[in-house]
Assembly symmetry: C3
């Protein structure tokens, strides 16, 4: 069993890939088989495994979530009560609830069993810069 | 490895915090490092890690999901076919599908690696009282 | 620890149950207690634990997601930029992002700790036939 924490500095809403950090952590460990679990220590960003080929996919995913949960100063969000931290805060919690706080990926033959097109992303839901922490746990 | 089942009695839709039960289970085990996995044994409630500070966040989360999947006697839900268990049943399955049935949280230095504002919640989607079971698995 | 890969041939959007494959894998292993993790190696299908009793629930779940993210040739999806792989592709990525890429289910007394009504499904989001791979990892 092995654990590590990585930090990602975000500069606004969107997807930040960290597949390489996860791959490196697994390789450094030398385990042939196991299970990598990722856990994000925040409630206004989340984890996502998505296509790492066409960047339009990431842009469209971001657009979809912005349309589903617009900033709370948008008239359709008039019902929101939690407003003290800015119009991007409550939608951030909503988007985090709709996506993942933890993910587990098997390690086979010493490598993450990701599919050909799968990349691992931190999904930032806040506008301003944030330092985000993700815990990596390589277990059995 | 250690396992336990906790039961939560719910009294209608909303978020029920059980961070303390999870924390106690981990502490009772005395493991320095590991991985806690939570699994809910139902299809009309789910698990959520969300902000435990301002209760408005929980209220707004609940409102968002009610707006996204209203009771099936609402005109916008006319397309629903599964109606035998009441108007809150099909939206309950939808909300459960959109959130988590299992979650994994690393244990570091003998404690759950939750962020400062993260609480663990059972998200009840049914109106009437239910006894809900969550399996706790502390592994490596 | 034990690992396996199962393949499911899909023939269009919808839910494909594979509870039996997971149950068999756990039984073949003979472990009394553990944790089964499922991981899907794709970004346009996903995993779902849902009611295995009334098939209307699955049909309604499918309808809900189609309404939330319609094909990109629908006028409400005019904002989509990723269109090269057909009108069902971008909604497929969206639906995958809203559901699970990995799930973990405890094994207790030699059996998966699923609730009475819980079935395990592959949720296919593409129209054309696909061969899908799911990695099963039975750990501690």
């Amino acid at each position: 069993m092995s654990q590590s924490t990585i930090r990602i500095d975000t500069t606004g809403q969107g997807l930040y890939e960290f597949t390489r950090d996860a791959t490196r952590f697994v390789a450094a460990n030398g385990a042939d088989a196991g299970l990598l679990t990722l856990f994000v220590r925040h409630t206004s960003c989340s984890l996502l495994i998505q296509e790492n080929a066409d960047p339009d996919v990431r842009r469209d995913l971001d657009s979809f979530f912005r349309r589903l949960a617009p900033p709370s100063d948008d008239p359709v969000m008039r019902w929101v009560t939690h407003r003290t931290e800015g119009p991007d805060d409550m939608p951030a919690h909503i988007k985090a609830a709709l996506t993942a706080v933890s993910l587990s990926i098997p390690v086979m033959d010493g490598r993450l069993a990701l599919g050909t097109w799968q990349g691992i992303y931190l999904f930032e839901h806040r506008d301003r810069p944030h330092r985000r922490e993700i815990v990596l746990h390589l277990g059995r």
